[in-house]
Symmetry: C2
Subunit: 186 residues, 2 copies
């Protein structure tokens, strides 16, 4: 039996990331789970949705650069904190030790096992949010979260966000092989 | 110790959805995990990235409507199948029993416990993909996946897609409360 829930977004869970940007010369971080994959081909484009009033937006616009850092479950306190205090009133520059890659002004978080440095490709404007579309320039990963050179979700343990429960969830187990399990219906 | 992986997209896992559209008068379905949340305010906008050559794109463009259906783990075979055969060569209209809501030409899948009917709001163009941005008009859910009237991920059991392993993963456990666990750093 189906019921209607009004026009709520049910497209969860999504990976929670820490977006990094330079704002007024200092690294700043904001927690975002309203992410997107814009295309799957060069240039690889991903998106972050950020309410227009957010402090970080100014830095991304000014420098045309940002980073996308993926925290593991053990960073849940710091990750959540970065999402509940604004850079307008709290200096978050010392919250994480940072490193830089090829993209200037895209501070990446050392403690996050996976980092993507992005050039701002475009901004898709909505009435309330800036959708920052970034071109991934380089991806960095801790060797401890790789298996055969590839990111292993069971080792990365990303934080999955869900708006219905307002909770972070873990990744579970492998269910099936993609592009394979469906062949039995052919 | 960090290593570089070139400019790969690491923004996974993402929820796997079955997008529904009418193409040449028949329901068609395509599996998409390159989803996005474009904003979180009215109008609620979500995105689906689909390579330009895909059969479904034509139907979304013609009718300016599509549906986003969330399969549970028990639909993994059908979900994967819809992603490996093209509507150009295989009639997928009988794969799922459908129902309709307020949006014309947005066929929704009965067997998927959660469905969003969307009006096409915009198409963001990339060199290789159409990014379909949809406005959620109504969300439908099986009562069996709700707890206190809200979607419960532990009951929904969405299929999470990961491009690194090319596997579907399950959702695990609750890690922490969002907008709360970080308060201890204040």
């Amino acid at each position: 039996m189906k019921t209607t829930l009004n026009a709520i977004n049910a497209l969860y869970p999504t990976p929670t990331v820490l977006a990094g940007a330079m704002v007024d010369g200092k690294p700043n971080f904001i927690t975002i789970a309203h992410i997107g994959i814009v295309n799957h081909a060069r240039p690889y484009l991903i998106s972050l949705s950020s309410a227009k009033a957010h402090y970080t937006n100014k830095g991304i616009k000014a420098n045309k650069a940002f980073s996308v850092n993926m925290p593991s479950e053990n960073l849940v306190v710091e990750t959540d904190y970065a999402g509940i205090v604004s850079g307008k009133t709290t200096d978050k520059s010392a919250l994480f030790e940072v490193f830089y890659g090829q993209v200037e002004n895209a501070p990446m978080i050392k403690k996050c096992p996976v980092n993507m440095e992005c050039r701002l490709y475009d901004i898709y404007d909505t009435p309330t949010h800036d959708l920052f579309i970034g071109e991934i320039v380089q991806t960095h990963a801790e060797e401890s979260v790789l298996t055969d050179g590839k990111i292993d979700l069971a080792k990365l343990k990303p934080l999955l966000f869900d708006m219905s429960s307002i909770k972070y969830w873990s990744v579970g187990q492998v269910v099936a092989d993609c592009w394979k399990v469906g062949k039995q219906l052919k």
